[in-house]
C-alpha cells in the first residue's frame, strides 16, 4: 500500500468513525506529487463523505460563529444585511470598530463628535438604524475605509433580509452558538442611543447624516 493510500485510508476511517480528523494535517505529511495526489483524493472524498458530528463547543470560537451571530442581528434588525456585512468587511480590512469610527468621523469632518458617530455606527452594525435614513455621504466614506463602494453598502443596507419562518428561531440559535470576535470589537459602546434620546430640537449634522436621508 502506498503512503498516499495508507493516509487516505486512515483519514476515511477516522471520518467515518465520527471523529473530525483535520484533512490538512494528513496532506502536510507528504511532499510533491504525493501530497497533491492525497489532497485531491481527500477533496474528492469530502464531496461524498457523511456530515461531521455536531460540535457546538468547537463552533463557538470560530469565524463561522461570528457570521452566524451577525446574520442573527440582520434577521432581527432594520439595517438590511449591514449587520452581516460590516463586521466581515472590518475583519477583512483588519480594523477594529473604534478605528473605523475614528476614520469615519474624520472623513465626515466630525472629529469633535467621534463618540456620537461611533454610537450611530454601532447601531448600523447591530441593525438598530434603518439604512434608508443614512445619507450617501456616510456610505461613501465608510466604503472608502472598508474598500468597497458606498453604493454597494447602501444596497446591502436596503437588501431584503431572508425572512423564512425560521428567522426568529435562527436568530435564537445564532445567539446561543456565537460570540463576537473580540479582536476587532474593541471600544464598542454600550447600548447605543445616539439618535433616539435626543430631542428633536437638538437635531444636528450628525443626526442629519445618519438619519436625514429622505427626510422632508
Amino acid at each position: 500500500m502506498s503512503e498516499v493510500d495508507r493516509l487516505l485510508t486512515e483519514y476515511i476511517e477516522k471520518q467515518l468513525a465520527g471523529e473530525r480528523p483535520e484533512p490538512r494535517a494528513f496532506v502536510e505529511k507528504l511532499e510533491g506529487d504525493e501530497r497533491g495526489e492525497l489532497a485531491e483524493l481527500i477533496d474528492a472524498y469530502l464531496m461524498d463523505a457523511p456530515a461531521d458530528p455536531w460540535d457546538p463547543g468547537a463552533l463557538q470560537n470560530s469565524p463561522e460563529a461570528a457570521v452566524l451571530e451577525s446574520m442573527g442581528r440582520a434577521l432581527k434588525g432594520e439595517a438590511g444585511m449591514l449587520p452581516a456585512v460590516l463586521p466581515r468587511l472590518r475583519a477583512r480590512a483588519k480594523l477594529r470598530r473604534d478605528q473605523v469610527v475614528a476614520a469615519l468621523a474624520e472623513s465626515l469632518g466630525l472629529t469633535g463628535k467621534t463618540e456620537r458617530v461611533g454610537a450611530y455606527y454601532h447601531q448600523l452594525e447591530f441593525g438598530d438604524l434603518p439604512a434608508r435614513g443614512v445619507k450617501d455621504q456616510v456610505f461613501d466614506a465608510l466604503g472608502s475605509i472598508l474598500g468597497v463602494s458606498g453604493a454597494g453598502l447602501r444596497r446591502a443596507g436596503e437588501a431584503p433580509v431572508p425572512s423564512s419562518g425560521d428567522a426568529g428561531k435562527g436568530a435564537a440559535v445564532y445567539a446561543r452558538v456565537a460570540e463576537p470576535d473580540e479582536r476587532f470589537n474593541a471600544a464598542a459602546p454600550g447600548k447605543a442611543t445616539a439618535g433616539e434620546t435626543r430631542a428633536s430640537g437638538d437635531w444636528d449634522e450628525v443626526d442629519e447624516l445618519f438619519r436625514g436621508a429622505g427626510r422632508g
Partner: protein, 186 residues
Amino acid sequence: MGHLIDRYRDRVRYWVWRKVPESDIDDVVSAVTESALKSVLDGTATGQYVKWLRTITDRRIADHFRRAEGDPKMEPLPEEHRGDEEIWGEAGMAPDHADDVVSDLAGQKLIRAALEHFNDVHQLVIRLAGPIELGFDNRPRKEVAEIVNDQVGDQLNDPMTDVNVYKIISRFRQHLGRLRFEEDEG
C-alpha cells in the same frame, strides 16, 4: 442553523485552504458561510447540499482572486450575488471538482472514459456507489461492499469494505476531474 454550518465547516475550510493563501482563509470561509446561510434562509439553496456548498465555495474563492487582481471598490458585496449562476458558472473550478460534468454527449463520453480507467471490480463499485447525477446508483457504501463481496468476492484478495468503496469513488471523482480539466485546457 449552527448545526448545519458546523457539520460541514471542516470541509469548506479544507477546500478553501487548498486554493487560498493562509492569511485570507478566514475571510473566504466567512463569505462562504454567509452565502450559505442566506441561501438556506431564503430558500434558494437547491439540490444536493454538499455539491451546492462546494459550488458556493468555488464562487467565493473566485471572488477572492478577482478582488486580489482588481479594484476592490468594484467588487460586488457578497449580498449582491443573487442570481449569479450565469456570472460565476465557470469561475475557479479546480481540476478535481468533477461534479459539474454535464449530462450531454461530451460529458457522458468523459464519464465513460473515466470508468474505463478502472478494473472490472472497481467499475462495478462505481456503478453501484457513484453519484446519481453522473448516472450511477449512489447506494449506501456498506450495501455496495456486501453486493460486491457476494458477486465477485472470489476475485478479491481481501473483502470489500465501505472504506474501500469510498476510496474507489474518490479515485473515480479525482480521475474524472482530471479528464475534465485536460479537456477544458485543450
